[in-house]
């Protein structure tokens, strides 16, 4: 019989170090984008989707902590329509233990504050020590869901994290600043972090992971399960609304050179000569 000689307090803390990773499904950046009929978002018809790039790095950050025995459970959560379950499967196949899928037709068009309120309600009975989101989503580029959630839960938050280390009851992070500088700050746990891309090297799901994911729990949650009313957090009730989407002004724009590769190359050489003098 092997005795666990760690102090009891430590065992309890370790075993309850649950972490939540937010995972958003976004259109792949190389999808064919077109503005939709009412001019308020993109036409979703032709898009292909995947896990938001920043969230891949967020998932890896918590999986690493779990590998190191510092986190006991990794839970992935998404808010989105049926198709968004694909990103939860990705997270589970990559190593998350279970998943929560908040879906409700009333959430279409919900603003980030509403989404954060819904997430806060869904996790209020779970005590996550660490919540990790992406710095921003590649579709809306809002860069606010993580810190909004932190305030709603009354927890400290750090954004654009490029390094993290779990300490006793705290997390020490490096926040990316401008001009190749980093701010080192310590947050008391429980805390919320948003990660910047490049913080780690995200792993891919293994075949074994994909098989194992099939047995993992995905809990589907609707607004009514959370005791929330669409009149408060639904898309129709959101105060921030997209009035319209536009194609950015092109300005002068580039002079487009056409032809076969050799013709184009010859034309570019000519211009480089004339305009820059470097050849």
């Amino acid at each position: 019989m092997v005795y666990d000689r760690r102090p009891i307090a430590e065992i309890i803390r370790r075993e309850s170090m649950k972490s939540l990773v937010l995972a958003k499904q976004v259109p792949n950046t190389d999808s064919p984008f077109r503005i939709n009929a009412d001019g308020t978002w993109v036409d979703e018809g032709n898009l292909t989707y995947g896990l938001n790039d920043y969230d891949r790095y967020g998932l890896e950050a918590v999986l690493k902590l779990k590998d190191a025995g510092k986190v006991s459970e990794v839970v992935a959560l998404t808010v989105g329509p049926d198709r968004a379950s694909a990103v939860l499967r990705t997270c589970l196949a990559t190593g998350a233990d279970r998943a929560i899928h908040i879906k409700d037709d009333a959430l279409a068009g919900a603003d980030p504050l509403s989404v954060a309120k819904v997430i806060a309600a869904a996790i209020k009975d779970e005590s996550f020590s660490l919540i990790v989101a992406g710095l921003q989503a590649d579709d809306d580029n809002y860069a606010q869901t993580g810190p909004l959630l932190a305030r709603l839960l009354d927890r400290p938050c750090a954004t654009a994290v490029m390094g993290l280390e779990l300490l006793d009851g705290a997390v020490r992070v490096e926040r990316e600043l401008e001009n190749n500088r980093l701010q080192v700050v310590e947050l008391q746990l429980p805390a919320v972090l948003t990660v910047q891309t490049g913080i780690n090297e995200p792993r891919y799901a293994s075949l074994k992971g994909i098989m194992a994911a099939k047995k993992k729990e995905v809990r589907a949650v609707a607004l009514s399960d959370l005791g929330l009313d669409a009149a408060q957090v639904g898309g129709a009730a959101s105060r921030m609304k997209t009035v319209r989407l536009e194609v950015p002004p092109k300005g002068e724009g580039a002079d487009i050179v056409k032809g076969g590769p050799e013709e184009i190359a010859a034309e570019l050489v000519k211009r480089i000569r004339e305009k820059t003098g470097v050849i």
Binding site: T159, L182, Q188, I272
Partner: protein
């Protein structure tokens, strides 16, 4: 005491950050459209400790009043400390509009304050306009592929973070007042502790002085495929640059990254291959003398800053260009 527009000033180690003056410039533009009196309606708040001198500088740049939010808990930036102070001050001032910079500290604190006040927030705005009294915020989505115009619902305070360069910095010559307040933020109660600001890792190459740069983006598709970019750079006698995903994924070391979180470059010639042209990349290379963009997507934002563009597969165009240059230089 109420004001119309409140801008959140930024300082670091004794210096006012330039974004502060851009925010004042933006607030003046808004005041003009909204019919507010910029001379009395635009204020700034500056959190910190011992910041009165900087506050006086800001008061000379278009703020009717600069509120120094002073306290030991506010000396160095922490999201926890600064959010509490700002929430308290915004409640006291009840402004119609609050502007933050879309900077590392601005995007860190603004959502926390917005959630505390239970109001929506428009982030990374490039413009604010009025449509019959309704404020509209312009920002980019899909990394610059589209521009989104949002309405925040009208109830004050309207809150936004403003991107760098969105407005001209406010002019000097103003004579605003400085007022000191001590927000009730207890340093002992903070759950965030500032440790230090440090330099990131430095690498072996310095692209900031390069005269010719050939950059590859995610469109190159892998570390092993970067040889096409390297070959062109070599034929031109230039250096290899990259967008962020390339260095994030380890295809090239970090020091090759060009943009807001990498190096800023000013070469005579910049060739962007398989780079979409997100603003964070563009700010690092738009000072180049001549920009060539090669991208298979005719709508990629990079064509908006390039002098000359090729819509096509970089794996067809770049090798052909390398060959043509070698021939032109008599190396082929």
């Amino acid at each position: 005491m109420a004001c119309k527009a409140l801008i959140v000033a930024e300082q670091e180690s004794g210096a006012v950050r330039e974004i502060t003056y851009e925010l004042l410039g933006m607030a003046h533009k808004v005041a003009e459209q909204a019919g507010w009196k910029a001379a009395s309606d635009v204020k700034a708040v500056l959190p910190g400790e011992g910041v009165e001198k900087m506050a006086a500088e800001i008061a000379g740049r278009g703020a009717a009043e600069v509120i120094c939010a002073e306290g030991a808990a506010l000396k160095d930036y922490t999201g926890d400390g600064h959010a509490r102070a700002l929430e308290e001050i915004i409640r006291a001032e009840s402004p119609s509009l609050v502007l933050f910079g879309h900077t590392p500290n601005g995007w860190d604190v603004a959502p926390v304050v917005a959630a505390g006040l239970d109001v929506p927030l428009a982030t990374e705005c490039s413009g604010i306009s009025f449509d019959g009294g309704r404020a509209l915020f312009t920002r980019k989505v899909f990394n610059g592929k589209f521009v989104q115009v949002v309405d925040l619902g009208g109830a004050p305070p309207l809150m936004a973070t403003v991107m760098r360069g969105a407005a001209q910095p406010a002019a000097t010559g103003g004579k605003g007042a400085v007022r000191k307040v001590q927000p009730k933020v207890d340093a002992q109660a903070l759950r965030a502790r500032f440790i230090e600001i440090k330099k990131g890792e430095a690498g072996g190459v310095d692209l900031s002085q390069a005269e010719i740069i050939v950059s590859g983006g995610r469109g190159v598709g892998g570390a092993e495929k970067f040889s096409v970019i390297r070959d062109l750079a070599e034929a031109l006698g230039g250096q290899v640059g990259a967008s962020r995903p390339v260095t994030d994924m380890g295809w090239l070391p970090h020091e090759h990254q060009i943009g807001s979180s990498g190096v800023t470059v000013n070469p005579k010639l910049y060739v962007a291959c398989g780079i979409s042209g997100a603003i964070q990349h563009i700010v690092g290379m738009r000072g180049a003398g001549y920009i060539i963009a090669i991208n298979k997507d005719a709508d990629a934002p990079i064509f908006g800053v390039a002098d000359v563009g090729v819509v096509g597969d970089l794996f067809e165009i770049v090798p052909a260009l390398t060959k043509a240059i070698q021939e032109a230089r008599g190396q082929g």
